[in-house]
Structure formats: structure tokens, C-alpha cells
Amino acid sequence: MKSLAVLLRKELHATFTSPIAYAVAAVFLLITGYTFSLTLFFTKVANLNYIFHQMYVLLILLVPVLTMRAFAEERRADTLELLLTAPVPEVWIVLAKFFAALVLVSVLLLASGVYAVILGLYGEPDWAPIYGGYLALFLLACLLVSIGILASSLTENQVVAATCALGACLMLWFADSAAYMIPAPLDVVPINLSLIGHFTTFVSGSLFLSDAGYHLTLSLLALFLTTRAVTDR
């Protein structure tokens, strides 16, 4: 466990000293802040439903940029050889990168919590959908980060890693569209695989274990495949 802490410290340092992190944070907070202000002034409704859906799209677009360096940069600079010949299990190297990126996304989500605070100060929002929305965004972040890290572990080109991760996330988002072309009962497969279907229930304030299970299962699968990709050499 000590080695995991050492690796995590190194990854956090690399993440928070990277200009990419600050560029992504600036874009995320600027766009969500702008939309929050506009929505609040025009609708005068104390909820964050619209913002959550926008954050959902922004995370799908921005997380691949945050995770593209994870393994691709280590491969390019050959530093992965140093890590993989050190007496630490490969899964810890993967987990350290996963947690470091997740911490950064969580900081962004926490920073966006100021919108909820504003609603609480000046209105009477229904808190269940807000808590549900943040839980959904956190679970979504876990899934997106793990997919991004998986893509990064398969190439030494950061742009290729980001593009593949973005493609995979978009395919998951639109997976339910394929249900129109597939006869019943097989159509439930793309419907249940769809990212958006498991997100909207949370934002409406309904918490289902199946939705949490979907995010966690796919995240674990992606992390497992990443570990295999790193180990297989």
C-alpha cells in the first residue's frame, strides 16, 4: 500500500502541475458558470437539472483530454520501463493514475458545487435531484477516467489516446440508438448499455443500484483491461 501512496503522490504532482489540467478546469467552469447564470436568470427555477446534463456532455468531451497522457506519455518517454521494473504490482500503477485523474475531476465537480450553494442561499431547491446529480456525475467520472486510461495504455500517441477514448465514450452515450435496428428482446442490450439512460434517473432524484452497478462494473472492466494491457509485454 505504501508504494500505491508513493505512486499516487507522483501522479497528483504530475496532474496538478500540468497546464492541461488548468485549461480543462477553466473551460469546464467557464461554460458551466455561464450556463448556470443564463438558466437562472431566464427560468428563475431553483434546480440544476440543465447544468447536470451540460456537465455530462462536457465531461465526455474533456476527460479524454485529461487522461490521454496517463500511459501514452510514460510510453513515449520510456519511463514506463522504470515503473514496470520497480517492485510494485502493475495494478497499483493503474490505480494511481486512475485516482489522480479522478481527484482532478472531483475538484471540478466540487468547484461547481457553488451553484448549488447559490440556489440554497436564494431559493428552496429540491435537494434530492442535486445530490443524485452529483453522485451520477461522480460515477460518470469514474467510468470516463477508466476508459480514458485504458485508451492511453494502448498507444504512445496522446492524440490517438484522446480520440479513441472520446469515440468509446460517444458510442456508449448513443448506444441506445442501435435499439431501433435490433429486434426484441435483443434491443435491451444497447438500451442497457447506454450511458445516458443510467444518468437521467439519478438527475431526476431516483437512485437505483442497477445504475450505480452499471458505472462501477464498466469502470472495473476498463481498469482490469488497462492492467492487462500494461502487464502484457
Partner: protein, 242 residues
């Protein structure tokens, strides 16, 4: 009492490679290599580019898994007891991979802690190794600002910081200027005895000056292992074998 013909702890090889092979699809990078290395000696792996030197070193460090055969380090199998084996090795890859955004002290401390040293022990070890590889005045420097020679010292420093039994160096003098080559040579020789050193090189003179024994590889096959003391003309031997 020990029978005189039984091997003592010092006689047993610290590195044992038994029938190690490595295939990449249809390409055989290393074929049935058997080699034993004694404690405290400097072994030079000599061979042209593509002869399998780096593959052999990478298998020894656990970076690559053998397709066949087995390798052990200080009695630990590099596959079944990977962590134990890795703890006993310090490795300097040919490309000198370093985290350029870190400072020298930070990098050495990271590598020390990654290999299991406590924070205070790592700090002490960094000071000692910096002195050993003449880096004391560069500890605060960002790695990206260092010359090739200093980067080489940092790379050797990270390999020594956890006091490994075995130091594995892949082409340690590549890209260095003549003064740096001489300094690196002296450094490696100074480590011999205290540690086992296995280094690869495609330069005859390099191996001749540093190694106690030489293992000659060609197209993935081990052709010969000779003591330098018994090999007055390495060049002639190499030409006769290759």
C-alpha cells in the same frame, strides 16, 4: 562443518539464467540462453545491435517474460517471485528514462520510496547516492536542464539508491563524451565487488576495460562466455565467433 566440494553462499551464482528464450511471433529474439553470474563480478554482454542483449537484460529485470526457460536473481524466480527479484536489482535502461519535470532530489527520493524505503531512509539514501555518483551540487536542478552526462549519473543514481545486489546497465556509455565515458567506466569499476554488475555494450573496448567476464551474443544465441583474464585478444575471439 562444510564439505570442501559443496558450494558456499559466495560460490552460488547470484544470477542464474537457464535455457531462457524470447519469441515475438515468428521472430526469436533470444534462444536457449544459459548463463550464471557470480556475486561481485562485472559481466559484460557483448554483441552487435539486435543480438538480444537488451532482451536478456529486460527479462532479468522482469520487464519481459521469457517464452521458455527460467531466470533467477539472488535465488528468486523473476516470474514467480517478481517483487522479491525486482527489489534486488537496480536497472539503467539504454534510453535513460527520467521524469523531466522533477528535480534530481525529488526523482531519486521517488525511486527510493517506490522500492520500499521509508521517507527518512530515502532522504539518507539520496544524500549517499548523490555523493557516490557526484551529483551533490545538482540535487536541486530540474532534470530537464541536465546534460546527457548528468542525466546518466541520475539514471545510475536511481538504480543504486535502494542498495541493490545487482546493477543492470544497458549500454551505459552510449551518447557520452570521452570524459564522461571514462568517469562512467571508473564508477562501474568502483561498484564491482560490492555489487554484481551486468552491462551490455556493442563496443569491444568498453567491455575489455570494465568487465571481469564477457558473454558474446549473436542473433539471440549465446556464443561464448570467457574470463577477461583468459582472453588476451577479445577482438580476435569476437571475430572468430562472429
Amino acid at each position: 562443518m562444510t564439505a570442501s566440494n559443496e558450494p558456499t553462499a559466495d560460490d552460488r551464482p547470484i544470477v542464474a539464467i537457464e535455457g531462457a528464450s524470447k519469441r515475438y511471433g515468428s521472430v526469436e529474439a533470444l534462444s536457449d540462453v544459459t548463463l550464471h553470474v557470480r556475486r561481485g563480478e562485472v559481466l559484460g554482454l557483448l554483441g552487435p545491435n539486435g543480438s538480444g542483449k537488451t532482451t536478456l537484460l529486460r527479462m532479468l529485470t522482469g520487464y519481459l517474460s521469457p517464452t521458455a526457460g527460467r531466470l533467477s536473481v539472488a535465488g528468486f524466480d523473476t516470474e514467480r517471485q517478481r517483487m522479491e527479484a525486482r527489489r534486488r536489482i537496480g536497472y539503467v535502461p539504454e534510453s535513460l528514462p527520467l521524469y523531466s519535470h522533477m528535480r534530481v532530489r525529488e526523482f531519486l527520493r521517488f525511486m527510493a520510496e517506490l522500492r520500499g524505503l521509508s521517507a527518512s531512509a530515502a532522504n539518507r539514501a539520496v544524500g549517499e547516492v548523490a555523493e557516490q555518483v557526484a551529483l551533490t551540487d545538482r540535487l536541486r536542478a530540474p532534470i530537464r536542464t541536465l546534460s546527457r552526462g548528468y542525466r546518466q549519473r541520475v539514471a545510475i543514481g536511481q538504480a543504486l539508491v535502494h542498495r541493490p545486489d545487482i546493477l543492470v546497465l544497458d549500454e551505459p556509455t552510449n551518447g557520452l563524451d570521452p570524459r564522461q565515458i571514462i568517469e562512467t567506466r571508473h564508477l562501474i569499476r568502483s561498484l564491482a565487488g560490492e555489487r554484481t554488475v551486468i552491462m551490455s555494450s556493442h563496443i569491444l573496448g568498453e567491455v575489455e576495460k570494465i568487465a571481469d567476464r564477457v558473454a558474446i551474443l549473436l542473433r539471440g544465441r549465446l556464443l561464448s562466455v570467457e574470463a577477461m583474464a583468459d582472453t588476451p585478444n577479445l577482438e580476435a575471439l569476437f571475430l572468430s565467433l562472429t
